[in-house]
C-alpha cells in the first residue's frame, strides 16, 4: 500500500453567495500524478489555494504524511514541502533563470549573492529531474515552455515534495506538452507527488494515475485513470451526457468573402508583428488559424475588425477594400467579432445584460430614436436573444459581471450572430469555458458555417482548430507559414509548423520567399 502524502478532509470554503468547496475529501499518494478535474468555477483552484495557504478553509483538516498541519500562508506550505506553479507565471522578466529560481533563498558569500554557486545548484537540480533550462538566460528571452520549467525548478529549489500544477498545458504547444509530461513522469519516479489541475479530459487520460472529479464544489468521484473513459469523466464533470465530438456535414465552400493580401501591421510599441499575411475565407467554410500565443493573432484580429491600423497590404470583403475602416464601418460591412478577451473587449461588465446585447447597434433604429435611446426596444431585443441563445441570467437587467463565463460568452455570441453577419471573426471563442459551454459555442459556429457564413477561427487549442476547421492556416511570427487540409493533417504536423517548421501546401510554394 502506497502511503498518502496529503489528506484533505471535509474541506469547506464559502465565499459570499457561493460555496466554493463543500466538504471535500482528497487524498494524494506518494509518487502519483493526481488529476483534479472540473469545469471552471467547480472549485479546484480554490481547493489548491487552500492547500498552498493562499486561502484558509472554513472547516476541515489537512494532514501531511499522517500529521495534522495548519497552513496559514504560502510560506507555511513551502516549509512543509508544498510547491505551486500558477497558471500565470510569477517570474521577474529582466532577471535571469537562476536569479528567479533562487529568489527568496539566495546563497550568500561575504554578503553578496554567490551567483556561481547558485548556477551550479540550478544546473544540478535541472539535470536531476530532466528539466532543460539555461541558468544564465534572461527570463524574457526564453520560451514559455522554458519559463514553466523555471517555475517548476523554483518550487523544487525550495524543497517541494508535492507540486501543484494549475492548468499547466494551457500555454504550451503540443510538443511542449509532450516535454512537460516527460518531466512530470520523471518527477514522480523520483518520489515527488503531483496534483494536476485541468479541465481537459485528454490530458487526464494521458498523464494521471488517479483522477478526482469536482463539480460545484463537491467531489463527485475519485477514480483510477486506467479504469475510466473520457466519456465517463465528461459526464461526471458536467453532470449530464455531452457530445465530445463536433458533428459537421460536408460542405462545398462558395465565393470568397474575405481576402487578405500581404497584410502588415505593427504592435503598440511600433514593432512589426504582421509581416505579410495572406489568407482567404470563403462562404460556408471555417478557416482555422493555429499558432502559439503571441505570434500575431491578436493583431491580425484587430486589423480585420478595424481596431488596429494596417501599415501595408490589403483587406478585402467581397471585393471591397475595408482597410483602416473604423469598427463601426467594419460592422456595417457585415463583420461580426467574438473578441479574445471577453471581459476587457467583449463586454462592459458594469452594463446590464440588455445594454451589452445592443452594443454596436445602439445607434441604429429601433434602439435609437432621434437622440433618445429606446429602453423598451432594448428590453425586447434582450429578452428575445436571452431566450434564443439560452443565456442563463436572472433577468436582462442584471449586470454582465454577475454572469458565469459561459453565459457571458453567450451574451457576446448572441449579440454578434444576430447582427446578420457575412463574416465572423472568432478569437479564442471557448477560452476558459467548460465542456458544456464549449459544446454550445461549437454547435453555433458550425450552424453559422452551414448557413453560408465565412468563419475565421483563431484558437490556441489545437483540438478545437482540428475539429471545427475546414482548412487550417498556421501563423508563426506574423506570417502564415503554411496551410493544410483539416481532414488530412495531424496534430504532429501542425505542432511542428506552430514551432516554425514550414510545411503544408502554401509553405512548400513559398519556401524561396520565407
Amino acid at each position: 500500500m502506497v502511503e498518502p502524502v496529503i489528506q484533505m478532509k471535509g474541506i469547506t470554503k464559502t465565499f459570499p453567495g457561493i460555496k466554493a468547496n463543500d466538504d471535500i475529501d482528497l487524498t494524494v499518494l506518494r509518487g502519483e500524478i493526481h488529476a483534479l478535474l472540473g469545469e471552471n468555477g467547480a472549485g479546484k483552484t480554490t481547493l489548491m489555494n487552500i492547500l498552498y495557504g493562499l486561502y484558509q478553509q472554513d472547516s476541515g483538516e489537512i494532514f501531511l504524511k499522517g500529521k495534522k498541519v495548519e497552513i496559514n500562508n504560502p510560506n507555511d506550505a513551502i516549509n512543509l514541502g508544498i510547491g505551486m506553479v500558477h497558471q500565470h507565471f510569477m517570474l521577474i522578466e529582466p532577471f535571469t533563470v537562476t536569479e528567479n529560481i533562487i529568489l527568496g533563498s539566495e546563497p550568500v558569500k561575504n554578503g553578496m549573492i554567490d551567483i556561481k554557486k547558485a548556477e551550479k545548484q540550478v544546473e544540478a537540480l535541472a539535470k536531476k529531474y530532466g528539466l532543460k533550462v539555461e541558468p544564465s538566460a534572461k527570463v524574457k528571452d526564453i520560451s514559455v515552455g522554458m519559463q514553466q520549467r523555471v517555475e517548476i525548478l523554483k518550487a523544487l529549489y525550495k524543497g517541494a515534495d508535492i507540486l501543484i500544477l494549475d492548468e499547466p498545458t494551457a500555454v504550451l504547444t503540443p510538443q511542449e506538452v509532450d516535454e512537460l509530461i516527460v518531466i512530470m513522469d520523471n518527477l514522480v519516479e523520483q518520489g515527488k507527488s503531483i496534483v494536476f489541475i485541468t479541465h481537459k479530459l485528454k490530458e487526464v487520460m494521458r498523464v494521471s494515475h488517479r483522477v478526482t472529479v469536482i463539480r460545484k464544489g463537491k467531489v463527485i468521484d475519485t477514480l483510477e485513470t486506467s479504469q475510466t473513459t473520457p466519456q465517463e469523466l465528461a459526464e461526471k464533470m458536467v453532470g449530464r451526457k455531452v457530445l465530445l465530438r463536433v458533428e459537421k456535414k460536408e460542405k462545398q465552400p462558395g465565393r470568397t468573402i474575405l481576402k487578405v493580401e500581404n497584410l502588415r501591421a505593427v504592435d503598440n510599441r511600433g514593432v512589426p508583428v504582421l509581416k505579410g499575411i495572406n489568407l482567404e475565407v470563403k462562404e460556408g467554410e471555417i478557416l482555422g488559424i493555429a499558432g502559439v500565443d503571441g505570434n500575431g493573432q491578436t493583431e491580425l484580429v484587430e486589423t480585420l475588425t478595424g481596431l488596429r491600423r494596417i501599415s501595408g497590404g490589403s483587406i478585402r470583403m467581397l471585393g471591397e477594400d475595408i482597410n483602416n475602416l473604423n469598427p463601426r464601418e467594419v460592422f456595417e460591412k457585415g463583420v461580426a467579432h467574438i473578441p479574445e478577451d471577453r471581459q476587457k473587449r467583449g463586454l462592459i461588465l458594469e452594463y446590464s445584460v440588455a445594454e451589452n446585447l445592443i452594443l454596436g447597434r445602439h445607434y441604429k433604429s429601433p434602439i435609437s430614436k432621434g437622440i433618445r435611446i429606446n429602453h423598451s426596444s432594448i428590453r425586447e431585443t434582450a429578452k428575445n436573444l436571452i431566450k434564443e441563445y439560452d443565456i442563463r441570467t436572472p433577468g436582462e437587467k442584471v449586470m454582465a459581471k454577475t454572469l458565469s463565463g459561459g453565459n457571458q460568452q453567450k451574451v457576446i455570441i448572441a449579440r454578434e450572430f444576430s447582427k446578420q453577419p457575412v463574416l465572423i471573426v472568432a478569437a479564442q471563442p471557448t477560452r476558459g469555458l467548460d465542456v458544456g459551454a464549449i459544446e454550445f459555442v461549437h454547435k453555433k459556429l458550425v450552424k453559422m458555417r452551414d448557413e453560408g457564413k465565412g468563419i475565421l477561427l483563431i484558437s490556441f487549442e489545437l483540438d478545437e482548430i482540428l475539429s471545427l476547421s475546414d482548412r487550417i492556416a498556421v501563423i508563426y511570427e506574423g506570417e502564415i507559414i503554411g496551410e493544410v487540409d483539416a481532414k488530412k493533417t495531424t496534430e504532429e504536423e501542425l505542432g511542428l509548423m506552430m514551432a516554425g517548421h514550414k510545411g503544408g501546401i502554401i509553405g512548400e510554394e513559398k519556401k524561396s520567399v520565407g
Binding site: F15, P16, G17, I18, A20, N40, G41, G43, T45, T46, T305, L307, N326, P327, R328, F331, H337, P339, D341, K344, R345, G346, L347, I348, L349, E350, Y351, E355, L359, G360, H362, Y363, I367, S368, I371, R372, I373, H375, P394, K397, V398, K401, T402, L403, S404, G405, G432
Partner: protein, 350 residues
C-alpha cells in the same frame, strides 16, 4: 438587486456624514465649546430662518452646477478638475453678455446670458478634452492649468477692456433685463436654483435616456469594449468635456445674473469648482445625489458663518467636517468596517 444597490449608494454617504459630524464634535469640544450648541447654531443659521434658507439656496446653487460638471465628466472616465476655470470664464462671458447686449426682452436676455456662460465653459473644457482625446495628455494636469489661465485672463479683462468706470476692478453692472428674479427684494435667493435643478434633470436625461449617454457611459466604464462596439472614444471624451464645462460655465452665468450682477476681479480661486469635486464624490456621480450633496454643503457653508459669529467657533471647523466627509466617502471600506456594512460580493468563476 437594484434596490439593494440604491440603498447602499445612499447609506454609505449618509454614514460618512454622520461620522464626520461625530468627529467634528470632538474638535469643537477641544476648542472649548459645546458641540450640541454649535450644531444647533449651524442648522438654525442655515435653515431656521427665511434669510438663512435664502443664503443656503444661494450657496447651494453653484455647487449643483459644478457638482454636475464633475459627475458628468466622471461618467465618461474623465476627472475634470477644471470646474473652477470653467466657472470663471462663465462668469466673465455672462457678465459681458449681460452688460453689453441691450434692448432684449428679459426672458431672451437671460437665455443669452446663460448660453454665453455655458458656451464659454464648454469651450474652455474642450481644450483639455481635445488634448486628452487626440494626444492622450492627462486631463487632470490640463484642467488645472486651464484654471490658472482663466484666472489671469479674466484678471486682465476686468482690469482692461471690460473694466467699468471708477476705481474698482469690476465690469459694468448687467442690464436689468439680464437679472434673474429674486424671491424677495431683501434676499439674494433667486430663480437660479430652478435652472440648477433643471440642469440636473438634463444631465440625468443625457446620461440615461439618450444614445449619446449610452456611449459616454460605455467609454467611462470600458474604453476597449466601447471601441470594439463601434463607439468613438475621442469623440465622446470631447463631447463629455464640453457638456461638463458647460454646466460649470452656467454656474457662472447664474451667479452673475442672480447674485453678483457683474464680474468682480478674482484674486484667488472661488472654490466652487473644487467643491464640485467633493459634491460629485458625495453624490456618487449621480445628478440626484449631486443635488443633495450640494444642499448639504450649502447648509454647512451658510451655517458656518452663523457658527462663527454667534458661537464663536471658527468656520474652518465646517471645512474640516466637509473634507472628513469626503475622506470617508472615498474610503468607503472604512465606513463599511466601522458600521459592519457588508459588501455584496459577486464571485464568478472562482
Amino acid at each position: 438587486m437594484r434596490k439593494k444597490n440604491l440603498l447602499d449608494e445612499i447609506l454609505i454617504p449618509f454614514l460618512a456624514v454622520i461620522t464626520a459630524l461625530f468627529i467634528g464634535a470632538f474638535v469643537i469640544l477641544w476648542s472649548g465649546q459645546s458641540p450640541l450648541f454649535a450644531y444647533l447654531v449651524l442648522f438654525k443659521g442655515s435653515l431656521g430662518s427665511l434669510r438663512g434658507i435664502s443664503e443656503t439656496i444661494v450657496n447651494t446653487t453653484p455647487l449643483i452646477f459644478t457638482g454636475l460638471a464633475v459627475a458628468f465628466a466622471f461618467r465618461c472616465g474623465l476627472f475634470n478638475i477644471g470646474g473652477e476655470g470653467q466657472y470663471i470664464v462663465g462668469l466673465m462671458a455672462a457678465a459681458v453678455a449681460g452688460f453689453a447686449i441691450k434692448g432684449l426682452p428679459s426672458f431672451l436676455h437671460i437665455m443669452v446670458v446663460i448660453a454665453a456662460g455655458g458656451l464659454a465653459g464648454g469651450l474652455w473644457a474642450s481644450i483639455p478634452g481635445i488634448l486628452k482625446a487626440k494626444l492622450g495628455v492627462h486631463e487632470v494636469i490640463n484642467t488645472i492649468m486651464m484654471n490658472y489661465i482663466a484666472l489671469y485672463t479674466t484678471h486682465y479683462l476686468v482690469n482692461g477692456p471690460f473694466k467699468a468706470e471708477g476705481p474698482l476692478p469690476v465690469t459694468p453692472r448687467i442690464q436689468p433685463t439680464a437679472e434673474l428674479y429674486r424671491f424677495s427684494p431683501i434676499m439674494r435667493a433667486n430663480t437660479g436654483i430652478f435652472i440648477a435643478l433643471l440642469c440636473a434633470v438634463v444631465a440625468y436625461y443625457l446620461l440615461w435616456e439618450t444614445t449619446l449617454g449610452y456611449e459616454i457611459r460605455a467609454v467611462g466604464l470600458n474604453q476597449s469594449a466601447a471601441e470594439y462596439g463601434g463607439i468613438s472614444v475621442p469623440k465622446n471624451m470631447v463631447l463629455a468635456m464640453i457638456i461638463s464645462g458647460a454646466f460649470a460655465g452656467i454656474a457662472g452665468s447664474v451667479q452673475v445674473a442672480g447674485v453678483q450682477h457683474r464680474f468682480y476681479d478674482i484674486f484667488s480661486f472661488t472654490g466652487y469648482g473644487f467643491d464640485g469635486i467633493a459634491v460629485a464624490l458625495l453624490g456618487r456621480n449621480h445628478p440626484l445625489g449631486v443635488v443633495f450633496a450640494a444642499l448639504l454643503f450649502g447648509i454647512l457653508a451658510t451655517g458656518s458663518m452663523q457658527m462663527q459669529s454667534v458661537a464663536g467657533i471658527p468656520k474652518e471647523v465646517t471645512g474640516l467636517i466637509q473634507f472628513m466627509i469626503i475622506i470617508f466617502v472615498i474610503a468607503d471600506e472604512l465606513i463599511r468596517y466601522i458600521y459592519r456594512v457588508k459588501k455584496k460580493e459577486v464571485v464568478a468563476n472562482g
